[in-house]
Symmetry: C2
Subunit: 188 residues, 2 copies
Amino acid sequence: MKNMIRPSAEQSVIAAGFDLLNENPKASLAEIASHAGVGRATLHRHFSGREDLIRAMAWTAIREMDQAVEAACSESPSYSDAIRQMLGALIPLGDRYQFLLREPVEDHADIAAEFQKQQHEMRELVDAAKNEGLFDTAVPTDWITRSFDNILYAAWESVMAEETTPSQATTLAWQTLVHGLGANKNGQ
Amino acid sequence: MKNMIRPSAEQSVIAAGFDLLNENPKASLAEIASHAGVGRATLHRHFSGREDLIRAMAWTAIREMDQAVEAACSESPSYSDAIRQMLGALIPLGDRYQFLLREPVEDHADIAAEFQKQQHEMRELVDAAKNEGLFDTAVPTDWITRSFDNILYAAWESVMAEETTPSQATTLAWQTLVHGLGANKNGQ
DNA sequence: CCCATTTGAGACATATATGTCTCATGAAAA
DNA sequence: TTTTCATGAGACATATATGTCTCAAATGGG
């Protein structure tokens, strides 16, 4: 078997894709290959084309987010705590989330379906947290999930800009959400 | 003089640009011209190329946002009220804001400078509102502006998805912000 | 009506991005 | 060492996007 310790060309290219395509969606495959430290031909050996690369990146993003959420809140004692753990786990994956939102993924029915499945689970989680008293039942669930997504993204931006540490950003985001959308305004 | 009532080709193209480039930053000039109901040659008569179009769109976005903010909060009795008015005025311009954030505008020094100038004015406004007791002084101003920007964007998404009316979205966004970041948690 | 201007359609050339191929090199496995 | 395999570099053809030009038609002002 070949060396599996050194990141494979696939992984390098996908990582470079997250770096470049998020900043400039018009980045060429040549730029991506170069940024990955890989020849242009090698990129085509692993991905049949731009669409194929984007599909692979989307699945990577979805899988990583799934795993992060699973690991973070599988043992949470409550739905409210699960949302809290989820927040901290997803902030470092802000670029993955950004990619799924910005890249036209609607073309791929399977990916869009999986993405919507995640959104639906989030809605159920929010409804459960409402019943626990975390969120105000008078606030629409749609608005809560949108706020969660966007505050999560704000937290990632904040960390990237080095305005806050990941830990600080998580706390700020959580406080903002539970105070802003909460039933009781004590913050924890 | 030519007819100024019918939208000029320039305006049509810029509007089409906001429609298409926000959804797919790789949209070709041919697609933009077609969506604007204009020949491809006509687009080139008004804009020397893609970069020129993007520059014109960026200036349009900045100008519209400036005017909306000016009109909304020039007569506000307080900084806190000014922020409230600003929120309502900017939500309908969410696509303009989105464009400035996503399109690589950093290349154009003049536009980037103007954008940062707006950001700086926002920071001063937030600091003033802190002194009025609207925001918690313990919360970093950077985080407040980031939250404002992202909740603003969430509100625009919510309106676009027809989950809420513009009025409802404005109220939800305001409540979320002042509860989430406020010094006193009464919401108004 | 006549004239000036703008426009749409399309031809054309060029630039850039993409996809495929070959070949020599280097690293790892046998 | 020998073999196998992935890779990098680059040539090549193709596809798509871009920029320029011409010309006939439409529009609006005089």
